[in-house]
Symmetry: C2
Subunit: 352 residues, 2 copies
């Protein structure tokens, strides 16, 4: 008798958007970001062993589609992600994403997952991790400039991981600010709605910029940034897409994820290619100092790097049994004899 | 009332291995390869407009994992594919693959598909397309050296597209040859089992090499290749993985898919980096000659290129309605307000 049901070897666990939302809500978004942060930090601590490359970007007039692969030698991961600022006006997400984790030894995928929601979590977890090392001691107030899809995740990650108690919101679109304030109303954070970016940064220990325009914008000007502040700049992540005035960069100590990629995509596009920056893993491993004085301005010029997605995928994979929220997809051909792919197809005729 | 069912916008059609086998068997493998060949040929004919890059390979001791992206400006496609020669002995496929087609204008995927079976079809379709332009007139007999997963697809594609009537099979593993011969017994092809590669090539108009060792092997030596033959070399597709003796290359006119990738991965690794070769699309568009004499040895040094996968994904997408063999996956987050990703997750609490 021919058994044509796919074998276990052919199946890959798939986490849909609905399943990811179930995972987030069963663990809790703050707890989940804390746990993802630990995975990201563990992978930054073993940074040199990762196979790293700037992401492979395909640009068009409307936006960009990117592939972000990396590997620690045991597992291989990649994310597909788009960035289309014009999508929002058309009712689409600016950023959508999905990703795969695979075993290096045989090349077989072990997880296929939505990553639109997961990217929001890992981005906020990475920002908070950086701020643990770079932010001023006892930081309590964060300005959030740009109140789009990433905003609330940032607020909750900084509350959970850094100890922020108050956020000051500003967006060029007041509706976005209203949306964010409403979503955060039961978070335990003090939420202040501000009418200008200047008002938002007043008294803030940490300034997070997460706007989405695909252009060189000036979300922050030099006079808005006082000494001792930590800037978490996550919106500038494309060639020609930056958020900060160049003068701020010159007054800051700059920390990046992976220099070859950030030179192309980050705020430091505005600087000479040999302008000194520190890679975050060097701080996390203790090789180089993070914040060294109370008056120093620290800038995390974040563009998002493949290892962060790898860490997030590792984390989700480790939750599959704990949460049970996934289905199995018949993604891999698994003939009885690996050389007999044609026979497998042929024998399925009339049986399937 | 909150509607938390994913909207149509969130869904991506998924073709599993079982669905792909249903598609192949409903259309018929030969007919399907003929139709895929037409898509591949149409895309080679508009070659200059594609965004092209050598594939992004992550090598390990056991094998390689690759991403192969490309775009025609309207659609973007990529394939994930592994190559692990040691897999076969462990009961895994040497090559497994899946791929995605997405709309460039908004970055949203429109198809997610298994590509282990599909790659076998597109590889054979590409080989047959090249042989239409490069093979000797009236070719009837093909030697097939290497009788693994790709072998029968090659035989049937050449029967359907080139008009081959006889195949001569050889593999270092006699069981592989037996398997291929059995699978082809009702194909209408004359099938000859040969005990040596020398015997297989005797009288052959076309020689196809599709072996899988990850090393520089010599499947063909110079004295085995007579004048007028077309060589379809598809097994050499990794740095350090070739199949032909260098002297054969020097006697042949060499045709490749995409020169920057083939220089890294193809048989021409063995030659100087400026050794002249012709890109196949130049022949297909009539810019350069293909075969120009009866005595000429033509060599298609095939490594597989991203546009071929793109063409195959375009084809599968166009069959979704015709065959109905797919399911919809909830892969894309689709909040009512694109900026309200957090609210979407939060409102799902207790509802899902």
């Amino acid at each position: 008798m021919i058994n044509l049901n796919p074998s276990a070897m052919a199946m890959v666990p798939f986490v849909s958007v609905q399943d990811m939302m179930k995972i987030v809500n069963s663990i809790g978004p703050r707890q989940m970001m804390r746990e993802i942060c630990a995975y990201i930090e563990a992978d930054f601590a073993r940074w040199p062993l990762f196979d790293k490359t700037p992401r492979i970007a395909t640009h068009s007039e409307e936006g960009v589609i990117e592939l972000m692969p990396t590997s620690d030698g045991e597992y291989y991961g990649f994310k597909y992600v788009n960035g289309h600022p014009s999508n929002m006006a058309r009712g689409f997400q600016t950023v959508t994403a999905f990703g795969v984790l695979a075993r290096v030894s045989n090349g077989y995928p072990v997880l296929f997952s939505e990553m639109t929601v997961l990217t929001a979590l890992r981005t906020a977890a990475t920002s908070a991790m950086a701020a643990k090392y770079l932010g001023p001691k006892g930081a309590r107030t964060m300005a959030l400039i740009g109140n789009g899809a990433q905003c609330e995740f940032q607020a909750l990650a900084f509350q959970e991981i850094v100890g922020i108690t108050a956020v000051r919101l500003y967006d060029v679109d007041a509706q976005a600010t209203h949306k964010a304030a409403k979503n955060l109303e039961n978070s335990g954070l003090d939420v202040m709605i501000c009418n200008t970016a200047e008002a938002a940064v007043t008294g803030a220990d940490i300034i997070t910029t997460c706007t989405a325009d695909k252009q060189n914008a000036t979300v922050l000007t030099d006079n808005m940034v006082g000494s001792g502040v930590h800037i978490n700049a996550i919106g500038g992540d494309c060639p020609g897409k930056t958020e900060l005035h160049r003068d701020i960069l010159l007054r800051s100590d700059i920390f990046v994820e992976y220099q070859p990629q950030t030179r192309i995509e980050g705020e430091i596009q505005a600087l000479d290619p040999d302008y000194p920056v520190t890679e975050l893993w060097q701080v996390i491993t203790g090789q180089l100092p993070g914040r060294s004085s109370d008056r120093q301005i620290t800038l995390f010029d974040s563009v998002g790097f493949a290892t962060e997605d790898f860490s997030a995928l590792r984390y989700v994979r480790d939750q599959l049994e704990r949460t049970g929220h996934h289905i199995d997809l018949d993604l891999l051909a698994d003939p009885d004899d690996p050389r007999d792919l044609f026979g497998m197809v042929n024998r399925a005729k009339g049986v399937l």
